[in-house]
C-alpha cells in the first residue's frame, strides 16, 4: 500500500475530476469526428493528477518562469491534455469543441505556438523524451528548481530516438526529469508485445541508469505517491510505468485496440452501432461516477 499523501476529500475530488474530464473528452471527440479515444481515456487519471495536484503551474500565467514543464511526447493523445488544460483554466471549455477544426488553437496534434501552456510540438513519436531531457539539462545548468515531466506512450519505445534520450538522461543524471509511460499494451497495429516486444521494460530502464516505479495508472494515490517519490531521487531520472487500460472508463472500449484511432460515432461496431456509441460512452462514465461517490461514503 502506498503511503498516502492525499486526504480522502482530495482523492475523491480528483477521481470525480477525472470522470468529468472523460465525459468532456467524449463530447469533444464526437464533435471533431476524428481523433484518438483509447489513449486519452487511459491517461485521464494521470493528466488529472498532473494538472490538479502535481504540477507547480499558473494557468493564468502560462509563461511563468518557475513552472514545472509538462511535455506530451505522444501528441496523438492531446485531446485529454486539452480537456485537462481547459478544466485547469488555460482556456474556456467551450473552445474544446473546436478540436481539429480550421483556425483552431487545438490542432490535431499539439503545436507549441498555437496554444499558450503547451511546452512543445509533438505527434511524430519518439522525440518528446529528448526534448524533455534538453529542458531538464538547462534547469540543472542554470540552477533552476522546476521539474520536467514527460508523458509518453509505450509504443513509442519502438523508436531509437527514445532510447538515445534515455541514455542521455541517464548519463547526465537528470534527477529533475520524471517520465511517465502509458503502459496500455496497445499500438495502432495491435498489441505491443506482438508488434515489437518491450518487455522487460523495467529492466531496460534500470540498465539505462533510471530509477523505475510501476503503478496502477488508474489509482490516483499511487500516481501521486510515485511522482513525490521521484522528487526525492537525487542521482538519476525517474520513470513511472503507469499500467493503464486503454479506453478506461468506457466499458465497451476497454482493452480493444480497434478504439485506438477512432472517436465515438466512428468506431468499430462490435458493441454498439455508430449512432449509439457516444451516448453509451457517456452512460458508462456516469455509472463510474456513481461508483466513486459510493466508494467514498
Amino acid at each position: 500500500m502506498p503511503i498516502s499523501t492525499l486526504h480522502d476529500d482530495k482523492l475523491k475530488a480528483l477521481e470525480e475530476k477525472a470522470n468529468e474530464i472523460r465525459q468532456d473528452l467524449i463530447k469533444m471527440l464526437v464533435e471533431a469526428k476524428s481523433g484518438h479515444t483509447a489513449g486519452p481515456l487511459a491517461m485521464a487519471d494521470v493528466f488529472t493528477c498532473m494538472y490538479f495536484h502535481i504540477l507547480n503551474h499558473d494557468p493564468k500565467n502560462p509563461d511563468w518562469e518557475e513552472r514545472d514543464r509538462l511535455i506530451l511526447s505522444n501528441g496523438h493523445i492531446c485531446p485529454i491534455q486539452y480537456v485537462a488544460m481547459a478544466y485547469a483554466g488555460y482556456f474556456p471549455k467551450e473552445e474544446l469543441m473546436r478540436l481539429r477544426k480550421y483556425k483552431s488553437r487545438l490542432q490535431g496534434h499539439p503545436h507549441r505556438t498555437s496554444l499558450p501552456g503547451l511546452e512543445t510540438t509533438s505527434g511524430p513519436l519518439g522525440s518528446g523524451l529528448g526534448q524533455s531531457a534538453g529542458m531538464a539539462k538547462v534547469a540543472l545548468m542554470d540552477g533552476k528548481k522546476w521539474r520536467v515531466y514527460c508523458l509518453m506512450s509505450d509504443g513509442e519505445h519502438d523508436a531509437g530516438n527514445t532510447w538515445e534520450a534515455a541514455m542521455f538522461a541517464g548519463k547526465n543524471k537528470l534527477y529533475n526529469l520524471t517520465a511517465i509511460i502509458d503502459r496500455n499494451n496497445i499500438q495502432i497495429d495491435g498489441f505491443t508485445e506482438d508488434i515489437m516486444p518491450l518487455e522487460p521494460l523495467r529492466a531496460k530502464y534500470e540498465a539505462f541508469n533510471w530509477y523505475v516505479i510501476e503503478v496502477d495508472g488508474h489509482n490516483i494515490l499511487e500516481i501521486v505517491d510515485a511522482c513525490r517519490k521521484a522528487e526525492a531521487v537525487y542521482d538519476k531520472p525517474t520513470v513511472i510505468i503507469a499500467h493503464t487500460i486503454p479506453g478506461k472508463g468506457v466499458e465497451y472500449m476497454e482493452r480493444d485496440y480497434l478504439w485506438h484511432g477512432s472517436p465515438p460515432g466512428e468506431g468499430p461496431e462490435n458493441a454498439f452501432t455508430k449512432d449509439k456509441q457516444a451516448e453509451e460512452a457517456i452512460k458508462s462514465l456516469r455509472t463510474l461516477g456513481g461508483k466513486i461517490e459510493s466508494e467514498h461514503e
Partner: protein, 341 residues
C-alpha cells in the same frame, strides 16, 4: 585585380591559385563558435561524437560547461537542442551534414522548425544546425559521407535560414551571424583546405549576396567551395575569350537575395549557378524559382546531376562530376549562346 569589387576588401592575390592561402572552412566554424560564445553566455554547443573534425572542440576547450557531448545520436541531439532552445539557449548542433540534417531531418522539422513556427519575438527555437564535411570534396570517404542533398532538405522547411559560406572567414562570420539571428538556421561547410579570398574586413550579412566581379555578358551565382572556382573561371573567360562575367557570392540561399540576382541578370540576360550539391533543390533551384516568376532568363546548372559520388581526391572529383573551372566556363559559353533564343 581590376575586375574585383574593391568594396569587399578581398585578398590582393586573389587570382594566384597556387600562392593564395588555403585553410579549412570548418576552422571558421570553430572560431565562430568561440566568438559567439564570448558574446552570448546562452550559446551552447552540442556535438555527436565529431568534436575534433567539426571543430566544436575549440568551443569545448573554452567553455567546457556549455559543451554537451551527445554520442552518435543525431536524432537525439536535435531533440535535446530543441528542449534547450525552448528554455532560452542558442544551441549549435554539430555533425557531418549527411547525419545532421540528414538522419535527423524529421526531428529538425517537427521539434525545431515547426516548433518555432509562429513564435512571438524572443521565443523562437534557436537551434543552429552545422553541417560539416558537406559536398563531394569530402573526397576519399566516398558517397556515404558526401552530403549532396542537405541544402534541399533544409530550404523546404518554413522559417529555416540556409547559409553556405565560401571560405574560413566567411564561415566564422556566418557562425556569429546565425547565433544572433532569431530562429532556426542551417550553416554548411566542407572538410578540406580551401582558398581564402575574403579577409576579416570583408562584409557579411545574412540574406545579402555580394558581387565579387562585375560583368555584362553572363552572371555566375555560386556558393560555398564553388565561389572561388567561379572567380577563376571568370578571370580565364575574360583573358581567353573577352567574356565579362559577373560573379555573385550567393552565400545565403534562404532568405535569397532576389534583388541582387535580379539586378545582375537584367544586365547580363543569363545565369550559371554553381554549387557542390545536387542541382535539384539547391541554390540553383532557388534562383530558378525566383527568376521564373520575376525575370526568366536562360540558366545552366553546375552541381551533381542526380547521381551519387565516389571515393577520390577532392579536385579529382570536382573534375569527374562536372564542378571544375572548365565546366563553369563551358556552362557560361552555353548559356550565352542560348540568350535571345
Amino acid at each position: 585585380m581590376d575586375m574585383i569589387n574593391k568594396n569587399l576588401n578581398l585578398v590582393e592575390n586573389i587570382f594566384d591559385e597556387d600562392k593564395i592561402e588555403k585553410i579549412k572552412t570548418r576552422d571558421g566554424y570553430g572560431k565562430g563558435l568561440v566568438e559567439a560564445g564570448e558574446k552570448n553566455p546562452n550559446v551552447v554547443v552540442l556535438c555527436a561524437d565529431l568534436s575534433e573534425s567539426t571543430r566544436s572542440e575549440w568551443f569545448k576547450k573554452k567553455f567546457p560547461d556549455r559543451f554537451i557531448e551527445c554520442g552518435v545520436a543525431e536524432q537525439g541531439m536535435a531533440t535535446y537542442a530543441s528542449g534547450m532552445a525552448a528554455e532560452g539557449k542558442v544551441v549549435f548542433i554539430s555533425s557531418y551534414a549527411v547525419f545532421s540534417p540528414g538522419r535527423n531531418n524529421e526531428q529538425i522539422r517537427t521539434t525545431v522548425s515547426y516548433n518555432s513556427w509562429g513564435s512571438e519575438s524572443g521565443k523562437e527555437i534557436n537551434v543552429k544546425i552545422a553541417g560539416a564535411h558537406a559536398g563531394i570534396s569530402v573526397g576519399p570517404d566516398g558517397a556515404t559521407h558526401q552530403a549532396l542533398e542537405d541544402i534541399a532538405l533544409m530550404r523546404v522547411q518554413p522559417g529555416m535560414a540556409v547559409i553556405v559560406p565560401a571560405d574560413v572567414h566567411e564561415t566564422q562570420k556566418a557562425t556569429v551571424a546565425v547565433a544572433k539571428r532569431p530562429g532556426p538556421a542551417y550553416i554548411r561547410f566542407g572538410r578540406v583546405d580551401y582558398p581564402v579570398f575574403t579577409t576579416e574586413k570583408t562584409p557579411f550579412e545574412i540574406g545579402k549576396a555580394y558581387t565579387i566581379i562585375e560583368g555584362k555578358d553572363a552572371t555566375i551565382a555560386a556558393c560555398g567551395s564553388l565561389v572561388y572556382k567561379a572567380i577563376i573561371a571568370a578571370k580565364q573567360l575574360k583573358d581567353e575569350d573577352g567574356i565579362e562575367c559577373e560573379v555573385i557570392n550567393s552565400h545565403t540561399i534562404k532568405p535569397l537575395d532576389g534583388n541582387a540576382i535580379l539586378k545582375s541578370v537584367k544586365k547580363t540576360g543569363c545565369v550559371v549557378t554553381a554549387e557542390e550539391h545536387q542541382v535539384m533543390g539547391g541554390m540553383g533551384s532557388a534562383i530558378a524559382e525566383f527568376l521564373s516568376q520575376n525575370y526568366p532568363v536562360p540558366q545552366e546548372f553546375i552541381g551533381m546531376h542526380d547521381r551519387f559520388g565516389e571515393s577520390g581526391e577532392p579536385e579529382e572529383l570536382f573534375e569527374a562530376f562536372g564542378m571544375g573551372v572548365s565546366h563553369i566556363k563551358d556552362a557560361v559559353k552555353k548559356v550565352i549562346s542560348r540568350k535571345g533564343k
